[in-house]
């Protein structure tokens, strides 16, 4: 039977899909799960990512990493700012989806504004963090000794369950601003804001593969992320204790950097930028 709305049109219903390498595929496994609002009503069926989707996302992130890191900080800042612009544009959709998650309209709007502002705040750091975290070190000898921060590489992010949008933005922005690429496992209970966010990314000049967003079950995906030798760091901000433990165990094989173990879900701090960088130190002879 065909559903017809009162206006006599056919419903055009949206398929909520994954975001991998700048594209919107369904899960290769063909699976989906039901996303519900705070009252238990069905909102949508969303893709349930499998380990193979995660593998493809990591592959895309690894491929994108070199060029993204090679862009000037200024350019990355422009792109982050562009994300904020497009989020602002889709503000009403975000607010509605957060409302479905249980927020009052006023609180939902406030969260959207906070998320946009946070993206703008991190955009500003793009061409400044290396001045702050880099240094000309004093050494006893005829050398310049320079330390500079460099991106860690491919970062896996287990996004907080709530706040569904602000949590995602707060954990993602400090990762990508320095040139890392990201594979995000979105909030399991409220995946829709993350999917709308991926549509924002699609129209924000973010190169394919820099940010990949998987909807699904963190408990299923996190072990594969933790064990993946091509993932250099994992943000655990959204991981429940059992998942966190499993990620820590998996991370030993290639000594992944683990961040977000303190449980903050909407932190705004330059130290979070520093957490996903490695320090390169160069010695250069002086007076030659």
């Amino acid at each position: 039977m065909v559903n017809q709305s009162r206006a006599g049109r056919l419903d055009v219903r949206k398929t909520y899909k994954l975001y991998i390498n700048g594209e919107f595929p369904r899960s290769e496994s063909g699976r989906s799960y039901v996303a519900r609002d705070s009252e238990g009503e069905v909102l949508a069926r969303v893709a349930r990512a499998s380990r193979k989707d995660l593998r493809e996302a990591v592959r895309a992130a690894r491929t994108a990493e070199e060029k993204w890191a090679a862009k000037s900080g200024y350019n990355r800042g422009q792109i982050l700012y562009r994300i904020a612009e497009m989020m602002e544009d889709r503000g009403a959709v975000f607010a509605e989806q957060l409302g479905d998650g249980g927020l009052t309209p006023a609180r939902a709007r406030a969260e959207v504004s906070a998320a946009v502002d946070r993206m703008v705040w991190y955009a500003g750091w793009a061409d400044k963090f290396s001045q702050i975290y880099g240094n000309l070190n004093p050494v006893a000898g005829p050398f310049f000794n320079i330390s500079a921060p460099e991106p860690t590489g491919v970062v896996g992010i287990i996004a907080p369950e709530t706040p569904a949008l602000l949590g995602l933005v707060s954990r993602l922005a400090p990762v990508i601003v320095t040139g890392n690429t990201a594979v995000v496992v979105s909030s399991e209970s409220q995946p829709l804001p993350a999917i709308t966010f991926s549509e924002v990314l699609e129209s924000s000049d973010v190169p394919p593969g820099v940010i990949n967003i998987l909807t699904g079950f963190p408990a299923e995906l996190a072990p594969w992320l933790a064990d993946h030798m091509d993932v250099n760091a994992v943000d655990l901000a959204g991981a429940v204790p059992e998942v966190g433990l499993r990620v820590r165990q998996g991370a030993v094989h290639n000594v992944k950097r683990l961040v977000g173990t303190d449980g903050y879900t909407d932190l705004q701090s330059p130290y979070l930028i520093a957490a996903f960088t490695e320090t390169k130190t160069v010695w250069h002879p002086k007076g030659l």
């Binding site: 593998r55 690894r62 594969w224 064990d227 993946h228 030798m229 091509d230 094989h253 290639n254």
Partner: protein
């Protein structure tokens, strides 16, 4: 002009070998159903290979590999490094076998021989003015005999595609035959058709028959310097030519796809097509080779993934 061809291979050939009679022989080669070939490989490519078979297939792919470096910037050091990897592809996993051979430019043969000494790895050298083959026959033969003298176990020669395409079949035939002669008992001869330049499957099939009749031990798709290099459909066409030749003469000829095979998945697809076309008699390094350089790391990563259950990173495998 009377030409000596190995008697068993002569069964297909006209009694008197001239350009005209060779052209007649090649006209008798059946033409290829392009759509059929592509559909056949497409259906074989989707075949699902289960874990145990995959593990076996990957190890077989390693044993069949001709690890190749053919660059103007090759140095003795680079060749020594690659040869060490050929002997022991994964230093952390002794269960991974050595590759079949290393494939290098003539000047690098002595260094490769030194580096693989005492192992099962063979040294293959390209020859006959690789990759274009645009040189006169005499110098090509001289080059080959020099490489054979240096001790190369296998010779990868190129055919003169210009001559083949302009109908000078006798010249192509004669060149292969003479090169085969100087290879003697010491060296295996692989004949590169450079299928990317031949234009059609029919031409590939004719060139395959010509090369096999003239004495090729292996026929090989490409130099790796021309796009497209090896593809599955072209490989199937050549495998079918090998089957036809075997049925007509009883002589078994090997196959080497080369260039553009970069992933384990690709390699396994080639093995499926091989097994379905020629059967298990060809499923050994004696009769099938992969010409590749980046493929090895991908296969090693897959082997380790199967062993550990963890997805692998190129960061933990040597670059070659």
């Amino acid at each position: 002009m009377a030409l000596a061809v190995a008697p068993d291979r002569a069964a297909l050939l006209p009694e008197r070998i001239t350009n005209a009679s060779l052209a007649g022989f090649l006209r008798s080669v059946p033409s290829t159903d392009e759509v059929g070939v592509e559909e056949r490989v497409a259906s074989l490519s989707t075949r699902s290979i289960k874990k145990d078979s995959k593990s076996e297939a990957l190890r077989l792919a390693v044993r069949m590999m001709d690890l190749t470096t053919l660059e103007g910037k090759d140095t003795p050091g680079k060749v020594a490094q690659m040869s060490a990897k050929a002997v022991r592809p994964d230093p952390t996993d002794p269960s991974v076998p050595s590759v079949a051979a290393v494939c290098v430019y003539p000047a690098m043969v002595p260094y490769a021989l030194e580096a693989v000494a005492g192992s099962s790895v063979k040294v293959a050298s390209v020859a006959t003015y690789f990759p274009s083959g645009q040189l006169d026959t005499k110098l090509k033969v001289t080059e080959t005999s020099r490489v054979v003298e240096m001790g190369a176990h296998e010779i990868d020669m190129v055919i003169d595609r210009g001559a083949f395409l302009s109908g000078e079949y006798f010249r192509v035939f004669d060149e292969i035959r003479r090169v085969r002669e100087v290879c003697g008992d010491q060296a295996h001869l692989k004949v590169i058709l450079e299928t990317g330049e031949l234009g059609s499957y029919d031409q590939v099939r004719r060139a395959s028959m010509l090369a096999m009749a003239a004495g090729a031990d292996f026929i090989k798709t490409s130099t790796g310097k021309v796009q497209p290099a090896a593809t599955l459909p072209v490989t199937l066409v050549m495998l079918e030519a090998i089957r036809d030749f075997y049925l007509a003469t009883g002589v078994q000829v090997g196959m080497k796809p080369a260039g553009g095979i970069r992933t384990s998945k690709d390699a396994i697809r080639y093995l499926v097509v091989l097994n379905e076309t020629l059967g298990s008699a060809w499923m050994t390094p004696d009769w099938f080779r992969f010409g590749a350089s980046t493929l090895l790391n991908d296969v090693l990563m897959q082997i380790r993934w199967l062993k550990t259950g963890r997805y692998q990173s190129a960061d933990y495998f040597t670059k070659d």
